[in-house]
Amino acid sequence: MQPFTLKYAFPKGICQAVTPYHFDPAQQLNVLPNGRPAVSDPDLLLAVGTTTSTAGSATHFDD
C-alpha cells in the first residue's frame, strides 16, 4: 500500500534551468561569461530560481 503522504505527490515537470554561470575555482564562486560574479546580477539569480526554497537538491530538505 502506498503511504498516505505520497498520495499527495505530483511530478514537478522536467526542470532544466540552464544556469548561465560556472564555478571559478580561484575565486571560489560562480562567475558569468563576462567574468563578473553571478551574485552581481540579482535579477538573473531570481530568474533561474536557484536561490528559492523549492530548489533544494535531493540531499537537502532544509528549506
Partner: protein
Amino acid sequence: MTVLILTSEEDVTADMVVAALHGTGTPVLRLDPADLPGKAVLSADYAHGDFDGHLSVNGHVLSMGGLRSIWVRRPGEPAAHAADPSPWLTAETRQALYGMLHSAAARWMNHPRNADQARLKPWQLRVAHLSGFAVPPTVFTTAPRLAREFVEEYREVVVKSASGPPPDDPQVALPTTLIGPDADFAAVAAGPALLQRYVHKRADIRLTCVGTRLFAARKIAEPGQVDGRYGDTGHAWQPVPVPDRIGKSVHEYVTLAGLAYAAFDFAEDEDGIWWFLECNQGGQFGFVELETGQPIAAEVALWLAQHRADRRSR
C-alpha cells in the same frame, strides 16, 4: 584565521557569503565533501599527544590551527564524486573529514549534532511550544482511526511530509496539501502521516535568524492558498518588523535548539497571529535577500568572521 564553507559548487547562495567575505578580506576555503577524495585532499595527524590537520582544494589550503569557523551550508555526501563511490567509501571519508573538523576548535553554523536534532519536525513543534509560539494542532500517526478523528475534529487539515520529497526521485514534488474527510485513511498504516490544522492565513512569513540578528519577510497569500511556494500569485516577499513577542520566542527557540542559524516559517492569520509551522536549520535565504534587500549574507559572513565565542555554536 580562515572560514570553511561546506557546500556544493553550484550553490549561489553560498556565493553571496563568499563575496561578502572577500569584501572584508576574510580568508575562506570552500569545499564540497563530495570532492573528497579526488579534487580535494585531506590529512590529519594525531601524534605526540597533539593534533593537526590540513585540507586543500583548487590550490587553496587550510590548516586546522587556522580554522575560525565552519558553515555547513549544502555539503554533498562525502565521496559522492569519487571515481568508485560506495556507501563504505562515504562512511570512511565522513570519518576522516568530520572527525578532523570536530577535533579543531572552531565555531559551527550549525553544529552537526544540533542540526540533526533540529531537523526533526515533531521535536520542532515541542520546542516551539516551550518557546511560547502559537503552534497549530498537529498529529503524526500511523493509526488510520486517529488520523480520521483528527480530520473530523479540525475539518480543514493539511498533510505535509516531515523529511521532504522522496530523495531517490528528484522529479517528485510534495507540497503541503489540504485533505478532505473522504481521504484514504487506511494508507496511514503504510506510512506515518503528519496532519495539521489549516491556518486561514493572509500571509506567509519567513524569519531568518543569524546569531542574534533577525530578518522577517512577509508574502501575501491568496484566500484559500495552501503551500506558498507553489503557484505564483504575483505577490513578492516584503520586509516586515519582528513583533517583540516573536523575537523573544525566536531567541528562546534557537537557544534551546543550539542553533546559530535558523529560518522559520509562519502562517499569519486574520488576527495577525504568526503560527509556527517549522524551523529550517539550514533554510535557504537567497530568495529573501534578493527580493527584500535584507543583508542576510553579510550578517552570515560577519558571524563566521567573528572571534567571539558563541555558546550556541558548540
